[in-house]
């Protein structure tokens, strides 16, 4: 139930040893794109020694390993054996890749949906063991489609919708793709709000200065919290399955949603 998932390069000590100061709810240490082929070994050893020495209770730590069909996959996974991480972020998601990872570890898996084929199979992916969230990787997805990313993000509307619906249907977190223009705060706010309105529960990010806006967008607002409290209070005093509040019909799904809002509010001290 994190709001923000910050990617940090896996071979950069200055970022790694400060991972708890960025205020991101979750950190994704990256072994994939931000680590060159010649430095994969170096990143693995660095993170292994780092996680043996330091532990963090306030932040979830994931590692984006290389894809299951890459030559680095096995070494990536074994280098994290017995370390205190929340789970793996698996790029180029496929059912087969997830099953390969499940053979090696029981930790949580966040598959990145970043190809048209993965999008077509997203429900199968969501049903796989250990999958706790779905993450949209829009850069690779649009690259495979041969289309350009735009600030309006109309080109990923369908992908976002399917991923958010599927994740919610299977009780998983839905993590939106990063907003790559790190200096456009207004654009980030619009982009994150659009994702939230489609059903995303959180957003990944590539720069620490994006954390504050993303945490704000994906936290329940004061208005939502107040309404949720009223719904729960009234439901506790009602013996009926459905009742009316301010002229609106309140039934079980709305009560469950209100409970989730209050859970989030409690988690983030709101």
């Amino acid at each position: 139930m994190s709001r923000s998932y910050l990617f940090i390069p896996g071979n950069t000590p200055s970022m790694i040893q400060n991972l708890d100061v960025f205020d991101s709810d979750a950190i994704i240490i990256d072994f994939e794109d931000s680590v060159t082929v010649f430095e994969k070994d170096s990143a693995r050893i660095l993170i292994n020694n780092f996680l043996k020495k330091y532990s963090y209770n306030e932040v979830e730590i994931y590692v984006r390993i290389n894809s299951a069909d890459s030559p680095y996959f096995g070494d990536d996974v074994s280098s994290l054996h017995n370390l205190d991480i929340t789970g793996f972020v698996l790029p180029k998601a496929s059912v087969e890749g997830i099953r390969e990872l499940c053979k090696l570890s029981d930790k949580a898996i966040i598959p990145i949906i970043e190809s048209p084929l993965a999008l077509l199979r997203v429900e199968d992916i969501a049903k796989e063991k250990n999958v706790t969230a779905l993450l949209l990787g829009a850069e690779d997805y649009t690259k495979e489609l041969g289309i350009k990313r735009t600030l309006e993000a109309t080109e990923i509307f369908y992908a976002r919708s399917i991923i958010a619906i599927t994740a919610n249907a299977y009780g998983l977190d839905a993590i939106d793709t990063p907003y790559t223009n790190k200096d456009n705060e207004e654009g980030l706010l619009i982009d994150a709000t659009n994702a939230k309105n489609l059903g995303f529960t959180s957003k990944s990010l590539i720069h620490p200065n994006q954390v504050e806006i993303i945490n704000q967008v994906f936290a329940p607002s004061l208005e939502e919290i107040t309404e949720a409290r009223r719904i729960i209070k009234k439901s506790e005093g009602s013996s009926k399955g459905a009742f009316s509040l301010d002229g609106k019909m309140i039934d079980l799904p709305i009560i469950e949603k209100a409970k989730k809002v209050l859970e989030k509010a409690k988690k983030y001290n709101l």
């Binding site: 000590p13 200055s14 170096s42 050893i45 660095l46 292994n48 330091y54």
Partner: protein, 85 residues
Amino acid sequence: MKTSAGSLESSDCLITISDSNKLEITIESVVFDQFGDQIQAVIEETLKEHNITKLFVQCFDKGALDYTIKSRLETAIKRRGENLE
């Protein structure tokens, strides 16, 4: 045989190791006065863990913490092993 690991970026160190008939360690660090002894100790301890008694180790430190120094040295050692195979 010479291998290296790490970088000269802030909070990192560049470690280069090469053949020697004894244990030699040279350290250049931006914080040598405060932490030179500690860096030396981390290097010696890491070499001991790997049962290495003869090696020339050069460390160019840019404020790396112990885990980074240990990691860069272990990477250089691993690369040396791979190159020897």
